[in-house]
Amino acid sequence: MGQIEWAMWANEQALASGLILITGGIVATAGRFTQWYFGAYSIVAGVFVCLLEYPRGKRKKGSTMERWGQKYMTAVVKLFGPFTRNYYIRAVLHLLLSVPAGFLLATILGTACLAIASGIYLLSQVPPAHRGNCRPLAVRLLVCVHVKCAVLSVYAFHVRKWSSVSRLTDLPPAGLSFRTPSCCQTLMAVALFSRGHPHAPCLPAATHS
């Protein structure tokens, strides 16, 4: 598992999402569905994503099979320098691009797929040696902060939508507070322990391929 380059799968997924966005956008625009202008946006976003993702990135280990004719697109993509080279930026870019398409049913599938691709790009940036094994303190803290933020935002969303949940979990009545509820704490604990907490024993390397 340590040697899998997730970015390669993210690339395939993002390319497929681009095509799905284009198709959904064409259907919505041609059918003049309600709020069809989101469909028009989706076509543009889909074309952009396809052009960006068409050149297959070079693998760290082994030979890379280039896609047919990708050298023309590579020249254009390279012009943007670090914005296209860095996978963090790509992940955020895909996430942002996918949001407007989520407002229309015809393109919501493209949103979901592009968001998943964004997630896989993020996963690919976790250093391979640290996936599933003990990690240095800095990385653990970073993950801790990320998990806390994600959980807090989920919690805030839930509080606004369903107040009955707040009664169940004894949450503070309104607004964000820095006291995290117990369910979120459990979530974070699970997240940390499953990926190597400082106090959890290190998993031996032999159990991971």
Binding site: M8, W9, T23, L105, T207
Partner: protein, 564 residues
């Protein structure tokens, strides 16, 4: 062209039948929903996209039924065994199971796209007719109530003006399962591309298990009964041909026409997928059961060039030549199963595999066995599963080509021949074997060397020198090796391998080889077996077609390829 037809007629026929069934089912369902009176009112709102969606749904059911069958390898082994009386061409089709699986998957993707696009139009039209206040037929039909007390015979699933299509999608079973199924399908397809499969097999293997969500979703997709048609009773009472025109008067007491009543279409996907799902579950249970049986490792040999040989025993295990097994090592990875060809002969009292370091799992396995002071890791085995090599002894003349580690199935065959000769089994159909081993470096030769040396001696003792003709090709040669070989040209044994047969340098010239074989055996059926890369398969396939005579009584080359 003629040769291609002779070799491929069954595949072509099979594909034509499958495509034909798809087209037939699509057109049949399309016409049914487009013409039937039952859906007259539904069509008033939706138009032709109703028929489109239903037709593609039927094709999806059909293909989802077919997709699980080619991956039941135990079932295929069973069919291969029971059909031993069938001709070679028919049994060879079982080798193409994965190709068929992929074709069916592409068809599912195509029909999913049609189905989703048609339903997007349907939802939009339902939404518009719900918003419509003009008093048209569509708007009156849409206003039919969902209230159970009034009979609950609604047509439009969008119940109120404020309800959005997104809300209906994510709160109805059909919509929600549809979204889940489609996302599962897309993830399966993107992780199953050739590049990902070859480079990162685990990503493909684990993601492909999302098919469980696909199958479960498909089973419950139609439960909500969103596709509505008029009930029989309502049609007898107020037939649409009579009553559609007078829809303004449906509420009047003295009108002959009453408001039409609708009922949902019962789910039928489960009927299509039930049997294959049961078969597949049996397949997985059988695989698990076989894997739980104890495997005793009797010998571990570490060969040069990082090749590990494991000799094992398992109760009730019986194999044929060239079959393969799936191996799992729980201490390395709990869920991963990797295929390896068996290198032992059926006549031996153990079975063995040769594993070369070629990735994470294999490297870890070799490292685990290298450690002298820790106990031997436990191994689980599933199999054996049959591939084309089983057919070797059915051919009068066999041409065996192994590239690199691809020689392993042929190790099993050659050993089996040795044992058959020892038992004086002269009923072998095979009269002559041509064996080609193509390899890059000399280090990988050594474990196979011993086998070939003993075979050479055996053949000499039995006086059957002409039975086995083998040629070894060293593709990673340089001038030093060639110079050395040229100097030692007169020696009886080869300087590289120590065998009597001299090593050739570079790749074989297949045209020469095939034409020699064709001239030496003008009336025979020749089986060509390859375990190696795709490019080599293509050139051998071409040669088979080129040198097969059109006259079925003369020399015929049949090509068989191992594929994992």
């Amino acid at each position: 062209m003629g040769n291609w037809v002779v070799n491929h007629w069954f595949s072509v026929l099979f594909l034509v039948v499958w495509l034909g069934l798809n087209v037939f089912l699509f057109v049949d369902a399309f016409l049914k929903y487009e013409k039937a009176d039952k859906y007259y009112y539904t069509r008033k709102i939706l138009g032709s996209t109703l028929a489109c969606a239903r037709a593609s749904a039927l094709c999806l059911n059909f293909n989802s039924m077919l997709i699980l069958l080619p991956v039941c390898r135990n079932l295929l082994s069973f069919l291969r065994g029971t059909c031993s009386f069938c001709s070679r061409t028919l049994r060879k089709q079982l080798d193409h199971n994965l190709t068929f699986h992929k074709l069916v998957a592409y068809m599912i993707c195509l029909h999913t796209a049609i189905h989703i696009i048609a339903h997007l139009f349907n939802f939009d039209r339902y939404s518009r007719s719900r918003q419509d206040t003009s008093g048209s037929l569509a708007s009156i039909l849409s206003s039919l109530s969902h209230d159970e007390q009034k009979g609950g015979s609604w047509l439009n699933p969008i119940q109120s003006r404020n309800m959005t299509v997104e809300y209906v999608t994510f709160t109805s079973i059909a919509g929600l399962t549809g979204v889940i199924m489609t996302i599962a399908l897309i993830l399966m397809v993107t992780s199953a591309t050739e590049f990902i499969r070859r480079s990162y097999f685990e990503v493909f293997w684990y993601t492909h298990h999302l098919f469980i969500f696909y199958i479960l979703g498909l089973g419950i997709h139609g439960i909500g009964g969103i596709v509505r048609g008029q009930t029989e009773e309502s049609m007898n009472e107020s037939h649409p041909h009579k009553c559609a025109g007078s829809f303004e008067m449906w509420n009047d007491h003295d009108s002959h026409c009453r408001r039409p009543k609708f009922e949902g279409h019962p789910p039928e996907s489960w009927k299509w997928i039930l049997a294959p799902v049961i078969l597949y579950i049996c397949e997985r249970i059988l695989r698990f059961y076989r894997s739980q049986q104890k495997v005793v490792i009797t010998k571990v040999v570490m060969h040069p060039s990082k090749v590990l040989e494991l000799q094992m025993n398992k109760r009730g295990f019986s194999m044929e030549v060239g079959q393969y097994i799936f191996v799992n090592c729980p201490s390395i990875s709990l869920l991963e199963w990797h295929p390896f060809t068996l290198t032992s002969a059926p006549e031996e009292d153990f079975f063995s595999i040769h594993i070369r370091a070629a990735g994470d799992w294999t490297e870890n396995l070799i490292r685990a066995f290298e450690q002298q002071y820790s106990p031997i890791p436990r191994i689980e085995v599933d199999g054996p599963f049959g591939t084309a090599s089983e057919d070797v002894f059915q051919y009068e003349v066999a041409v065996l080509v192994g590239a690199g580690i691809g020689v392993t199935p042929f190790a099993s065959i050659l050993k089996s021949i040795w044992y058959k000769f020892q038992c004086a089994d002269h009923n072998l159909k095979t009269k002559k074997i041509y064996f080609y081993w193509i390899c890059r470096e000399t280090g990988a030769f050594s474990w196979f060397n011993n086998l070939l040396t003993s075979l050479e001696q055996e053949m000499e003792e039995l006086g059957k020198v002409g039975f086995l003709n083998y040629r070894l090709f060293l593709t990673g040669w340089d001038n030093n090796i060639v110079g050395h070989a040229a100097l030692n040209f007169d020696k009886a044994t080869d300087i590289v391998t120590g065998l009597k047969q001299k090593t050739s340098f570079g790749r074989p010239m297949w045209d020469n080889e095939f034409s020699t074989i064709a001239t030496s055996h003008p009336k025979s059926v020749v089986g060509v077996f390859l375990c190696g890369p795709q490019t080599l398969a293509k050139s051998l396939h071409k040669c088979c077609h080129r040198y097969s005579s059109l006259d079925p009584r003369k020399v015929q080359f049949y090509f068989n390829k191992e594929n994992f």
